[in-house]
């Protein structure tokens, strides 16, 4: 649905970055990406049924240079990051990436001619290596969904995103809470490895409607509509 | 028809006249220079007005607190929110019931006593004798009672609130089994110093001023006969009660209302 499509949207946004290495400005990075997005979706619609893995691979290839997955994953692991060994961190990073693509990739195809506005920056950066890019998605029904990308300037001079806030919901914090809940769940025995293994399953059941309200935001708190 | 209009006009004029006299009484009572004896008079009045009201205040407070907890628990338990009973009861008491019920009880007990006393003094010519001796009755009779009322009633409200919450705790925690941590913790998280306690105390002080004022004035203005006394006492209780309720409504609107 719209929700998953939008999250999927950000996943695709990342496309643009890899194509244009000279797009230094974070706003430009996002803008270029959203242009490429429409092309990729329309292409994907033609071959997805026959070869979904190709679609996912396409997305992932382009994702790699545009999202700072290391930072994103660090934010999700949060307090458990320090405890994790470098191999575990890497494993989670890649599971995290795959999880996102698989969970939201299909929903991307629901996208069509929604108008996407990447807004020009209206404020000076508070820090030289951090910025926030705002985007508005106009749905066919006329609703406007705001999306905020937290961007950081990486060591190689590229701006990449490391968190996203969709329609007011901070996905980084949401995933962080899911991770923490999974770590505390008795069936996982507090084992990082188990949680990492289960991650793809966990992320498929996040119910965004429960975020920010009487702690019902646990992984299992879904109305059952979360299954693909 | 004309007759009724005339009566209405007369009544209105009487009422305005009374208001005027009342204001003068209040003003001249407050305006005196403190004398040596005043403190003793004040203490005596605080005793009569405040201390002697304690029993009814405490008994009522305990019952009301207990009933609130009982009723609140029953309703909240339906939606699984029993732990909020502490918070709910505290808010209701601090913001509304504490000041209002104390005010009504005070008007009934202390207010009527003040009026009766002063009316009796008027009927037995004690007031006029004082004037003849050069003693200012407003200063010696009215002022101490006005001040005593303004001091006693807030204290009574504080005691009322505390006892009522205590009663609610007894019923809620000890009897109905609400978790103690939830009861008090929820209350502490939700009750605010200024918003709830502070504003409630402002209400009490205002009520105190109004009730004392009405009580003293009605005594002063009474017809010096036995019927006059009884009429005056009734007026005090009725006017004070209505004033407290009306004032409460307006104050609540101003303090807590959100105007769109």
């Amino acid at each position: 649905m719209m929700w998953k499509s939008m999250v999927a949207l950000f996943v695709c946004l990342l496309l643009g970055g890899a194509v244009r290495a000279d797009a230094q400005d974070p706003t430009a990075v996002i803008r270029t990406a959203s242009d490429s997005l429409v092309k990729v979706i329309n292409e994907g619609k033609t071959y997805f049924d026959k070869d979904p893995d190709r679609f996912y691979a396409q997305i992932q290839n382009v994702l790699d240079p545009t999202v700072d997955f290391a930072k994103f994953a660090q934010g999700v692991m949060a307090v458990y990051y320090k405890r994790a060994t470098p191999p575990q961190r890497e494993r989670f990073q890649s599971t995290f990436k795959t999880g996102l693509v698989r969970t939201y990739g299909k929903a991307l195809l629901d996208f069509g001619d929604e108008k996407i506005d990447v807004l020009p920056s209206d404020r000076p950066r508070t820090q030289p290596d951090r910025d926030v890019v705002k985007m508005e998605i106009h749905s066919k029904e006329g609703k406007v969904y705001p999306v905020l990308y937290s961007m950081r300037l990486c060591d190689d001079g590229q701006w990449r995103m490391y968190n996203i806030v969709i329609n007011g919901i901070n996905m980084g914090i949401t995933y962080r809470n899911q991770f923490a809940t999974a770590m505390k769940a008795p069936e996982n025995h507090g084992s990082l490895d188990e949680v990492i293994n289960q991650w793809a399953e966990t992320i498929a059941h996040i119910d965004p409607a429960k975020q920010g309200n009487p702690e019902g935001g646990s992984a299992a708190a879904t109305e059952g509509a979360g299954d693909e | 028809m004309l007759r009724y209009l005339r009566l209405l006009g007369q009544w209105a004029l009487d009422w305005i006249g009374a208001l005027g006299r009342a204001t003068l009484v209040w003003f001249w009572s407050m305006a005196g220079v403190p004398q040596r004896d005043d403190l003793k008079l004040l203490v005596k009045q605080v005793y009569q007005i405040g201390v002697l009201s304690l029993i009814i205040i405490i008994l009522s407070a305990f019952s009301i607190g207990a009933v609130l907890a009982l009723q609140g628990y029953t309703q909240l338990a339906r939606v699984g929110a029993e732990e909020s009973v502490g918070l709910g009861v505290a808010l209701v008491l601090l913001r509304e019931l504490g000041p209002v019920v104390t005010g009504l009880l005070f008007a009934g007990r202390a207010g009527s006593a003040i009026t009766a006393e002063i009316a009796l003094m008027k009927a037995t010519d004690q007031l006029s004798s004082m004037e003849m001796m050069g003693v200012d009755p407003l200063h010696r009779i009215a002022a101490p009672r006005l001040w005593a009322g303004m001091i006693s009633m807030p204290l009574l409200t504080l005691i009322f609130n505390a006892v009522a919450i205590g009663g609610a705790a007894l019923v809620g925690v000890d009897w109905l089994g609400v978790d103690q941590g939830g009861f008090w913790g929820g209350m502490q998280d939700g009750v605010e110093w200024w918003e709830d306690i502070g504003k409630g105390m402002i209400k009490t002080v205002l009520f105190a001023m109004v009730i004392s004022w009405i009580a003293v004035f009605q005594g002063y203005d009474s017809t010096p006969t036995p019927e006059g006394m009884s009429i005056a006492t009734t007026k005090t209780v009725v006017y004070s009660s209505v004033a407290v309720l009306a004032l409460d409504f307006m104050l609540t609107l101003v303090m807590y209302g959100e105007f769109k």
């Binding site: 949060a78 007011g168 901070n170 980084g172 914090i173 975020q211 | 699984g80």
Partner: protein, 153 residues
Amino acid sequence: MIRMRTIEISVGAFVLAGILCLVFLAFRVSGVGVGSTSGTYTLLAKFDDVAGLRVRSKVSLAGVTIGRVAKIGVDSELGEAIVTMEINNDVKNLPIDTGARIQTEGFLGGRYVSLSPGGEEKTLQNGDTITNTQGAIGLESLIDQFIGKMGSK
């Protein structure tokens, strides 16, 4: 006839009782002063929407109250709310990517700020601002998203 002395004593006791009740109300009922004795430090957080959050709302971490909202200001130029929080000194070492979310408490619905510590090395110091935030989510927005989810299946 009651003696003056008795009267004075009872009036004194009356006033004392009143004051004690005030103290009780202040500390046990309204929770003034409940918190750590070790002092506090200040953290700020920027939100797009703080609907329902008030001064003296609690700040909690893992369900434990670790501070209070001291001030709620607004940056009209950027359209953001700036919340100033006093955090107990015994809760130090919050990483700079700590998240701050405005959530609703139980049934009677008081709002509070919930902190979730992050994974960065550097920690927040006195006066620092938390940028990783999520504001109050309105009920309509939740219903929209819920219906949206249902509708797409």
